[in-house]
Structure formats: C-alpha cells, structure tokens
Symmetry: C2
C-alpha cells in the first residue's frame, strides 16, 4: 500500500465542483489514495458521491477511503474508512469490516498512535501538522515533530495531514512521514492536475534524499 | 412484531437526561419498540449511548432501532435501523443488514410507501402526522388521513409519527395505523413512566374499538 500522496476530496471545499472529474484528474496525475469527506450533506448525497468516486478509483485501481462513515464505506464497497478520535472506535470498525479493509485513524500523539495500533488501525493520519482552514475541529498545529515523536513507537504508515502544500510537504517526509494528505493544495488549486503531479514529485524527491543519506 | 407504542429516545430533547434510565422507565411501562435518535453528537457518543440502551432493551426483550445510522446499528448489534428519505437507500441497507434485521423507512405518501416496500422496508414511519417541535425538517403535518391513504396500497406495518400525544393517538389508530411513535409526549413529560402507560392504554383501547366494530 502506497501512501505517498493521499488526496482528500472534501465536498464542502468548493460547492458545485464536479468531484468525479476532480478525482479523475488527481488519479491520472499520481494520487496514491483517494479519501471522500462529506461532513454536511445528507447520507443519500454522500452515498451517491461515494458511488461516483468509486467508479473512478476502480478504473485507476486506487484505494477509496470514506471519511468517518463505515456504513457509506460498506454501501459502496470502498476499500476502507478513516476514523477520527470522536468517531466509532477503530476496534469496532475492524470487527465489522474484517481484516481485508483499510482502517485509518487520526492520531496526534504517541499514546493515540499506540491505542490506534492496538485497535487494529491500518495507518495513522497525523495532524493537523500545519494550520488548516478545511477542518474546523482540527486544533492547533502540531508540526512535523509530531510525526518524529510517533515514528519510533509505531510501525504503521504515518500520513501527515493539515495545511500541507508544495512548500512544506518535504518536511513531513523528512520527519518520518510515509506520505502526505492534501486537501487545499489540490482542491484550492486552479490546476489540480499539475498540483497533484508537483506534490508527488516533491514527496518522491524527499523520500529519495532520505534513502541516499 | 408489535408496533403499538414506538418510543423515540431523542438525545437532543433534554440535554443531561439519563437516557438509559428513561429507557428503563418506558420499557417497564409497555413500550413496544425503542428507537435511539442522535442527530448532533459525535459518533463515539452515539455509539456509547446505543450500547447503554442496548443493555436495557435486551433485558426487556424489546427491539432497539437506530435512527439513520446503519454503522451504529451494526456496531451495537441493534435490531434494526430507521431511514429517512434522505438517508442511505433502504435497498442498500437491506443488502448490508440481510433479512434478519428490521428496516424502517419514513414515508408520507402512497408512492413513497410503495417504493419503500419494494426496497425491502419492514415497517413505515408515516408523518409528521401532527405539528412537531422535535424534528426541524419534518415539514407540514400530513394528518392521520395520510395513513388512511397509504393503508390500502401497503401491507407493511404503519407507525404514525409527529406530534402524537394522549389526546390524538387514537385518531392515528382509527386511520389505520398499527402504532404510534412518540417523542415529546414521553420525553417532555414529568412522569415518563405514567405517560407511557397511558399512551399504551389509549392505543390498545382504540385497537379494541376497531375490532368490535
């Protein structure tokens, strides 16, 4: 499983945007994982959106992760679900979904990381690394050093999230991140395809640097 | 399955109320079904509440229905789920839950009733029958005559919901309802136990009257 460039498609980010088309563009330009986040729509709409993104991710053989909602993930046979600290417990999600599905858990500290790993998480979303405008409950930024703190005590893939863009993505990888999760730097871009490609190059370059050190 | 007195435990109704204790009181006094509705809490809290109500409903051998959320229903092994017109499609819920679980669907018209039955609904919640303050998106009241309109075209159990209280519960049964769903007339009562018992007597009396006609 490749977490290099984990693209979050947030329905609230730009109302009216064609999210299936956006997903095509980011998938074609190197996204490793697609997450659908849909905090304020009715479930019928969430389900319809998830179905339409599922068509795209199947074409590109990319994993589709549903934010928060295990039922929507089951309904569209997504590859997994991402759970925050206030969502259903990961252990319960693992029991329902079985071993074959991806369960991501948000963690900001080594203790949260340890508990998530025990509960059966597949990867951790660590953040908010930098200040972000796309998640109202994200809390104060914890910096790439939060990843450095979790890295020694946790063998799960760590994906940095929150305010990550071209200028700071490499610092997340250097801190021990396996990848970066991106909302604004792609959804807020006038050219999401190029933004995706540029972010992927940056992540890959930072990983290469670490290897040759 | 007995739908006489379907009690909705709405977490928003009276913040701070001990909902497990309330569920005990209504279960002991003749509730036929318990539904947990939790529109504004985090999922962790919804799950914890559902677990605590589950303990009570198992004691009383009452069905526990989870409003809107199939994942919470699965997580606590509830008896079923109730879905509105803007929630996950009932057909999808049926596919995920299988035949053994109860799926309730909100319906206000004969056409919605027909579609819900086709999709695999177990019962219909018909409303809002009367004006209600507990559901902001309930729309204009449709009156007991909505039940009379659906009854001839639908063999599913019909449960009236919305503004039903002691004074008007019998009219719902006389219109062809199999039961009444209650929020305010129990949760807003100073004595939910007595309110439950009185409502049950009213429903049973109205059903007896119909039988002897």
């Amino acid at each position: 499983m490749d977490y290099d460039l984990y693209v979050v498609i947030d329905e609230d980010y730009r109302p009216g945007l064609d999210l299936a088309q956006l997903t095509h563009a980011v998938a074609e330009n190197g996204a490793s994982v697609i997450q659908l986040r849909c905090k304020h729509s009715c479930d019928q709409r969430f389900y319809d959106l998830a179905l339409s993104l599922r068509q795209v991710t199947l074409c590109y053989r990319l994993p589709l992760i549903i934010n928060d909602r295990l039922d929507i993930a089951l309904a569209v046979d997504a590859d997994g679900v991402h759970l925050g600290q206030e969502d259903l417990p990961a252990s319960v999600a693992r029991r329902i979904l079985g071993e074959g599905k991806i369960i991501g858990v948000s963690a900001a500290t080594p203790e949260e990381a340890r508990l998530a790993a025990e509960a059966g998480a597949s990867y951790l979303g660590v953040g908010a690394i930098f200040a972000t405008g796309t998640k109202s409950d994200a809390g104060d930024p914890i910096g790439p050093e939060a990843i450095s703190a979790i890295r020694p005590v946790c063998s799960l893939p760590l994906v940095g999230i929150g305010g990550i863009a071209l200028a700071n993505a490499a610092s997340v990888i250097r801190a021990g991140g396996d990848g970066v999760a991106i909302v604004s730097a792609i959804m807020g871009s006038d050219d999401p395809a190029s933004a995706t490609a540029a972010l992927l190059r940056t992540v890959k370059a930072a990983k290469s640097e670490l290897l040759v050190r």
